[in-house]
């Protein structure tokens, strides 16, 4: 394999890269596809910048407890209805009494203004950093610190997003391996199952399951899930994308199944499980990784949507979806309550999408195909 003549015959990108990277005299060492992919990825600064952004969000959300304790001095579900905070040396109550508020400025109505609405109470506006770390992004109608809730909500959204993606990927991979390896009736059943899923209003079912389980929890077959548990949205979201991942992976496994190395493994007497997980799985691992990244992005958005409809994370537990829902009621006077969680979702999802794209370009040699002008 290390013979240069055979490699130049193939004119593969990998071969060209190997040749370019090594001085003429040096012997060519074998390099794994992962190494080559990593080298391609390393040159993609944009993908890395967005990966860094994702980790930043991840770290910020992981430190939610520290922020709550040491900066904001409050918890995510603590009400501060009657409290007064000092902002720039002035005392401000967290919840002011309501009244007529101008729609266009968000301030109290002057006489003669026409675009006024009556609000029952008005939470404190974002203090940014002039409030000593308190109510940086303002408060909601219960006087809860939105910045704290945003971080805790992010943590829950990420747990649900990543957890559901992991479950989804697990089932998709197992089904794809079973269908692709055994073919025949196993493939038939699994493919029909995927087909059925395509016609199934999965989101509708997700909403139905989410809201049904949100009230009573799940207590069957020895499984006990309390009604407010994050497991409910995680499990409900996890199955939605299984066919979208499983189907392309099955195709890959089917074509790998025809390769000589599988035949060799069978001839050696390896059992199906071993072939599936040590021979086939590593060969689809790169696709799985890309899918995983992109599905986390998708599931975070899905969680937000379910929570908006009341079928996802249940109040008072914060998540980015529930925060947007809460913020909607106060959007005229305090638009930041809805803006902040939305921006958080966009940044997180965008970073995952951009990184996922870069990862795919790096792992898929075809990505080097460029247009000729």
């Amino acid at each position: 394999m290390a013979d240069r003549a055979t490699e130049s015959e193939f004119t593969l990108d990998t071969a060209a890269e190997l040749a370019a990277a090594e001085p003429e005299s040096a012997a060519i060492r074998g390099r794994s596809p992962w190494f080559l992919a990593w080298r391609r990825l390393r040159r993609n600064y944009i993908a890395f910048a967005f990966l860094a952004l994702f980790f930043l969000v991840l770290i910020a959300c992981a430190l939610a407890g520290v922020y709550a304790r040491d900066v904001a001095h409050t918890g995510p579900n603590t009400n501060h209805i009657l409290e007064i905070v000092k902002v720039n040396g002035h005392s401000q109550s967290v919840l002011s009494s309501g009244g007529y508020i101008s729609k266009s400025t968000g301030k109290a109505c002057q006489s003669g203004q026409t675009d006024c609405i009556l609000v029952s109470s008005l939470p404190i506006a974002p203090t940014w950093f002039s409030g000593g770390g308190k109510f940086v992004l303002g408060a909601d109608q219960n006087g809860r610190d939105i910045a704290v809730r945003l971080l805790y909500g992010g943590r829950n959204s990420l747990i649900v997003g990543i957890g559901s993606s992991a479950i989804c990927i697990f089932f998709a991979v197992v089904l794809a391996l079973l269908a692709g390896y055994f073919r025949g009736w196993a493939d038939f059943v699994i493919t029909r199952f995927f087909d059925l899923f395509y016609a199934f209003p999965v989101v509708l079912l997700g909403i139905a399951l989410g809201s049904a389980l949100a009230i009573n929890g799940f207590h069957h077959w020895g499984v006990n899930i309390q009604s407010g548990s994050l497991w409910i949205p995680t499990l409900v979201i996890s199955y939605v994308l299984i066919p979208y991942v499983g189907r392309p992976l099955r195709g890959q496994v089917l074509s790998l199944r025809e390769k000589e190395f599988v035949e060799a493994a069978i001839a050696q007497g390896a059992n199906p499980l071993r072939i599936m997980f040590t021979d086939l799985l590593p060969n689809i691992a790169s696709s799985v990784l890309v899918f995983f990244t992109l599905i986390i992005a998708n599931n975070i958005v899905l969680e937000a949507g379910l929570s908006y409809l009341g079928a996802g994370v249940q109040p008072p537990t914060p998540s980015w979806g529930t925060l947007i829902t809460d913020g909607q009621t106060l959007i005229v006077t305090r638009p930041w309550l809805a803006l902040a969680p939305g921006i958080a979702i966009i940044l997180t999802v965008l970073s995952l999408n951009v990184f996922g794209d870069g990862l795919r370009d790096a792992l898929d040699p075809r990505a080097k195909v460029k247009v000729e002008h």
Binding site: L204, I207, N216, V301, L309, N353, D357, V371
Partner: protein, 317 residues
């Protein structure tokens, strides 16, 4: 061809039945509250509930209940547990709004999706491609209901400015102008996600196709670049877009735009579904599920047929 049609139609019907059966079973298994109790109301006596259970048939075995529900669904007699309104009537009421939303948004997202994809692919690597790629990525990263809320606040009557009307659906027979004006924001919001997605897919397809042999042949023949792009490259690259569009369009038509319909309060089929789900109202959920599955399944047959027309190499099987 006839065999294809018969087989696909049978398969489609089977899928629809299977889908409703699964939904039914799930609602029996998942504790969503006793429907008899919901019908009886808060202050019902025990005897009252037992009477309702008997007269509505909740004490029968679940397969009998399912069969009865299926029968009612096809005769149009399905009645909601909570509001006791006819489900078919309610779906029919929601259809104009859902259809208006879907058709308008579909036209927008297909047109701009193709436009954006072609521009990005033709100028691949240049600044317009970069800008479009970034915008498309942002587009697919936006939560649609958040975009709707923000659009309403900044552009419609509820919020800072009063440029657009705030939500609600106006029938086209009442006032075509008001119908259009009320739907502009929902159309745009719903289309954003699809435009980004289609643009990305199409860009990739075009870049793949450009390197195909038949394009080189066309170039060698001396065809004009525009002709190559439209007749050879675009025709091939649009095939996967046809599938995507068919299935997405069907999903939205079948009440899939639940979030957009809810945010803009359009009273379409999707919103009806969301409301029924919140009430654990099984009959409407069954009805909407059947309705949605019907569109998805029949559009997938249509897509296959159209596929064969676009790509002579494929025969419908």
């Amino acid at each position: 061809m006839a065999a294809f049609f018969v087989r696909r139609t049978l398969g489609a019907a089977l899928v629809c039945i299977a889908v409703t059966f699964i939904v039914f079973v799930i609602f029996i298994v998942v504790p969503g509250g006793d429907p008899a109790q919901r019908i009886a109301g808060k202050n019902a006596t025990g005897q009252n509930i037992i009477n309702i259970r008997h007269s509505w048939g909740f004490d029968r075995p679940f397969y009998v209940q399912y069969w009865n529900m299926l029968k009612k669904m096809f005769t149009g007699e399905l009645v909601s547990y909570t509001s006791q309104q006819n489900v078919l009537q309610q779906i029919k009421q929601g259809m104009p709004a859902t259809f208006s939303l879907t058709i308008g948004a579909g036209v927008i997202w297909l047109f701009f999706g193709i436009l954006v994809g072609v521009i990005a692919a033709v100028t691949a690597g240049r600044i317009s491609d970069r800008v479009i790629t970034v915008l498309a990525l942002i587009g697919i990263s936006l939560p649609v209901f958040w975009l709707g809320i923000i659009a309403r606040y900044y552009l419609a009557e509820g919020g800072a400015t009063t440029f657009f009307p705030d939500g609600e659906y106006v029938p086209i027979s009442n006032s075509p102008f008001q119908w259009f004006w009320h739907l502009v924001l929902p159309w745009a919001v719903l289309a954003v996600l699809f435009v980004g997605f289609y643009g990305r897919v199409l860009r990739g397809n075009i870049l793949d196709t450009i390197n195909e042999d038949f394009v080189r042949t066309a170039k060698a023949k001396g065809l004009a670049p525009r002709r190559i792009l439209v007749k050879h490259v675009l025709r091939t690259s649009l095939i996967p877009i046809v599938t995507l569009f068919g299935l997405d369009f069907a999903a939205v038509l079948g009440g899939g735009a639940i979030l957009t319909e809810t945010v803009f309060d359009l009273h379409g089929v999707g919103q009806y579904a969301a409301q029924s789900i919140n009430n654990f109202d099984l009959p409407p959920i069954m009805g909407v599920t059947m309705y949605g599955a019907f569109f998805i399944v029949s559009f997938s047959v249509l897509v296959d047929l159209f596929y064969a027309y676009l790509d002579p190499r494929i025969r419908p099987t």
